[in-house]
C-alpha cells in the first residue's frame, strides 16, 4: 500500500475539477459571510467555472500581517482548537488556526506523505524538528497516529539523546529537517558508528534538497531519503506528496494550485478556521499535469527559491533586514557591519576603531556575548560576532 487515499489522490480529472469547483463556491460563500476582509473585495463575485478563479482577488502575506492576530479567521475563536505561530514577511509573526476538522484533515494529508514513503503500522516513526519549524512536527504526529504507527516525538536540540533513541527504540522512519539529518550524519561519523547498525529504513525530510545532498544523506544514514514540500501558512506538511518516483503531487482535493508569474498561488478549499483565497506564497514554482506511474493525478510541483529574500539558517526562517534590526538594538548600533549568512549560522563582522582593541578588549568580549545572546533570543539562530578594524 503506497497510496493512502486512492479515491482522493488518484481522482479522475473531470471529477477533481467538479470537486474543486464545488469547494471553491462554498469557500466564496463562507468568506463573504464570515471574513470582513474578504467581504468587500469579493462583492457579489461568483464562479461558475473553475477557470474564473483568475478573476478573484489575491491574498498576500502582508494581508495576513495586517490581519494579525485573528482577522483572517472565518469562525469565532472558541471553535478554533489549536493555534500555531509562524513567521510572515520580514519575520513578523502570524497566527494559524485549526478547527477539529482542520486538524483531522491535516493528519490525513500528512499521512498521505508518510504512506507514500512506505510507513506502515509496523514502523517506529521518530520525529525530530528544529525549533524554527517545530509546528510541522504536529502534522506528522497526527499522521502517524492515524496510520497506526508508533511515534516518538522528539526535540532535536539534544542530538546525542536523539541518536540514543534512534538506536534503542529501533526507529525505522525518521522525519526531520535536512539540517538535523546532516548533523546526525556528522555525529555518527565522529562516534565511529556504522549507520547500518541503526534500524533506519527511510528518512523523510521537511523540504526538498538537491540530489547530491540526498545521496550523501542516504549513504550517511544508510536509509532511503524522501523529501516533501509545504507552505506553513497553507498547511505544512500537507500541500503535496512526494511519490516513489520523486515527483511532488499537489493534494488538489484540498488545495487549488495556480502559478502566477512564476509564483505559487494557493487557494485552500477545505480549511475551516483560516481559509485563504489565492494566497501568494512568495515561492517560485512550476506546475505540470503529468501522468505518473504511481497513479496520483495531482499537479506535479517543482518548487524553486523564495522570492522575498527569506533565508533558512539552521532551518529557522530569517530575513537579512531582521539581522540589521537585531544589531540596531544592541550597543553596536550604528557601527558598520558585514554579514555572512550560511545554512548553519550567521557570521557578523562589526567594524570598530583601532583604539578599542587595546584597553577595551574586555568590553568588546562582553559585547560579543551580548550580541550573540540577542540573536539567539530574538531570532533563534546562532551568530558568530567578530570585531574588525576594517570591513575587507
Amino acid at each position: 500500500m503506497t497510496v493512502f487515499e486512492p479515491k482522493s489522490e488518484a481522482m479522475r480529472l473531470d471529477l477533481l475539477e467538479q470537486v474543486q469547483l464545488e469547494r471553491l463556491q462554498a469557500l466564496l460563500a463562507r468568506l463573504r459571510r464570515n471574513v470582513r476582509r474578504y467581504r468587500e473585495p469579493l462583492g457579489e463575485a461568483q464562479v461558475t467555472r473553475l477557470a474564473e478563479v483568475k478573476q478573484l482577488p489575491f491574498t498576500t502575506p502582508e494581508d495576513l500581517v495586517e490581519a494579525f492576530p485573528y482577522g483572517m479567521f472565518a469562525l469565532p475563536l472558541r471553535e478554533v482548537k489549536r493555534l500555531h505561530s509562524t513567521a510572515g514577511p520580514l519575520g513578523k509573526p502570524l497566527v494559524l488556526g485549526y478547527t477539529a476538522n482542520d486538524l483531522r484533515h491535516w493528519g490525513r494529508l500528512a499521512a498521505r506523505q508518510l504512506v507514500s514513503a512506505g510507513v506502515t503500522p509496523n514502523d517506529v516513526v521518530q520525529i525530530g524538528f528544529d525549533a524554527g519549524v517545530f509546528g510541522q512536527s504536529f502534522g506528522y504526529l497526527t499522521a502517524a497516529e492515524q496510520i497506526g504507527a508508533p511515534v516518538v516525538p522528539q526535540d532535536p536540540v539534544h542530538i546525542e539523546h536523539q541518536l540514543e533513541v534512534l538506536r534503542n527504540y529501533r526507529t525505522t522512519v525518521l522525519v526531520t529537517t535536512p539540517a538535523n539529518a546532516l548533523e546526525l550524519v556528522a555525529l555518527l561519523a565522529s562516534r565511529r558508528i556504522d549507520p547500518q547498525s541503526l534500524h533506519l529504513r527511510t528518512v523523510l525530510l521537511s523540504r526538498p534538497i538537491d540530489q547530491r545532498l540526498r545521496g550523501a544523506l542516504g549513504v550517511g544514514l544508510f536509509a532511503g531519503v524522501r523529501c516533501t514540500f509545504g507552505i506553513p501558512e497553507i498547511m505544512d506538511p500537507g500541500l503535496c506528496v512526494e511519490c516513489e518516483y520523486g515527483l511532488l503531487h499537489a493534494n488538489e482535493d484540498h488545495f487549488h494550485v495556480e502559478i502566477d508569474h512564476g509564483e505559487l498561488v494557493i487557494t485552500t478549499l477545505s480549511r475551516e478556521a483560516m481559509p485563504l483565497l489565492r494566497y501568494r506564497t512568495r515561492v517560485a514554482c512550476t506546475a505540470a499535469r503529468q501522468e505518473c506511474p504511481c497513479g496520483r493525478t495531482g499537479l506535479v510541483l517543482t518548487p524553486g527559491a523564495r522570492m522575498d529574500g527569506r533565508l533558512l539558517v539552521n532551518e529557522t526562517p530569517v530575513y537579512e533586514a531582521q539581522i540589521a534590526q537585531v544589531l540596531a538594538k544592541t550597543r553596536a548600533a550604528g557601527q558598520p557591519f558585514r554579514l555572512d549568512i550560511s545554512e548553519r549560522g550567521v557570521s557578523v563582522d562589526i567594524a570598530v576603531s583601532q583604539e578599542c582593541f587595546g584597553d577595551e578588549m574586555r568590553v568588546l568580549a562582553n559585547l560579543r556575548i551580548d550580541i550573540e545572546a540577542e540573536f539567539m533570543a530574538r531570532l533563534g539562530i546562532q551568530a558568530k560576532v567578530h570585531f574588525v578594524t576594517t570591513l575587507g
Binding site: 471529477l15 460563500a29 463562507r30 459571510r33 461558475t48 485573528y70 469562525l75 471553535e79 478547527t99
Partner: protein, 232 residues
C-alpha cells in the same frame, strides 16, 4: 445551476455532484432553497442557468416525464401518495413509464413485505411511516438511476424517522443512488457519504457526512449548539 420564481433568485449558483451508489445529503434551514433545487433537478422548475447532467448526458430543460424515463425520480415532500387509491394502484402509477412495471412491483413488494400485506388497503389509511415507505416504493417501481428524496422525515414521529432512514441506507446497499434533502441534519448526515449545506441559495459547506457533523457552523445552525458570535 441557478433558478428561482418570477424575478426572485432562489438558487444563486450552486454546483454539486452525486456519484453512482452514493448517498448525498443536502441540508439547510427553511427557505434555503432545498426543495427548489430538487424540483429543478427533477425538471419541475426551469433552470435559469447552468447544466444538469446524468451519466455525462445533458438533461437540462427536459420535462419531468422524460426525466423519469431516464431514471431521475423524485419522492416529493409530504409523500404525495394518492390517498384514495389502493397501495397496489399507487405502485402501478409509479411504474407508469416503465414497461416492466409488473416485474418491478414484484421486486419492490419483496423489498417491503409490509406493503405486500397491505397491497389492497387504501393508501390514505396507512400510518405515516408506511405512507413514506409507499412513496419510496412507488418511486422504485420507476427504476430510478437516481432517487431524489425530499424531506422524508416530515411529519413523522422520531422513532419512525429512524426507520425511514434505515430504509434509505438499505436502498444504498442495493445499489440505488440517492440524493437526500433534509432539515433533520443529524439523521441526514448520519447516513450520508457526503453532504452539502445550503444557506440562502448558496452552498456554504461541503464534505463527508462525518466532517460536516463536526463542523462548528453546522453545529451552530442545525444541531442547535451555541450561538453566533464573531471575533472582532
Amino acid at each position: 445551476m441557478r433558478c428561482g420564481y418570477g424575478n426572485l433568485a432562489v438558487i444563486k449558483g450552486v454546483s454539486l455532484h452525486v456519484e453512482q451508489g452514493e448517498i448525498v445529503s443536502l441540508i439547510g434551514a427553511n427557505g434555503a432553497g432545498k426543495t427548489s433545487l430538487l424540483k429543478a433537478i427533477a425538471g419541475l422548475l426551469p433552470a435559469w442557468g447552468g447544466t444538469i447532467r446524468l451519466d455525462g448526458r445533458d438533461i437540462t430543460g427536459a420535462p419531468a416525464w422524460r426525466g423519469i424515463s431516464r431514471g431521475v425520480v423524485l419522492v416529493p415532500e409530504g409523500r404525495g401518495i394518492f390517498a384514495d387509491m389502493s397501495v397496489m394502484d399507487n405502485l402501478v402509477i409509479g411504474g407508469y413509464r416503465n414497461r416492466d412495471r409488473l416485474l418491478a412491483i414484484e421486486r419492490v413488494l419483496d423489498q417491503f413485505p409490509r406493503l405486500r400485506e397491505r397491497q389492497r388497503q387504501i393508501a390514505g389509511t396507512l400510518s405515516g411511516g408506511e405512507q413514506q415507505m409507499l412513496a419510496i416504493a412507488r418511486a422504485l417501481v420507476g427504476m430510478p438511476r437516481i432517487l431524489l428524496l425530499d424531506e422524508p422525515s416530515t411529519g413523522l414521529a422520531p422513532l419512525i424517522v429512524k426507520d425511514v432512514f434505515e430504509m434509505v441506507r438499505a436502498l444504498r446497499s442495493q445499489g440505488v443512488t440517492i440524493f437526500l434533502v433534509e432539515q433533520n441534519a443529524v439523521a441526514a448526515l448520519g447516513i450520508a457519504d457526503r453532504g452539502y449545506v445550503l444557506e440562502t441559495g448558496e452552498v456554504i459547506l461541503e464534505g463527508s457526512g462525518e466532517a460536516l457533523r463536526e463542523n462548528p457552523e453546522v453545529k451552530r445552525a442545525y444541531l442547535g449548539k451555541g450561538y453566533r458570535e464573531v471575533w472582532e
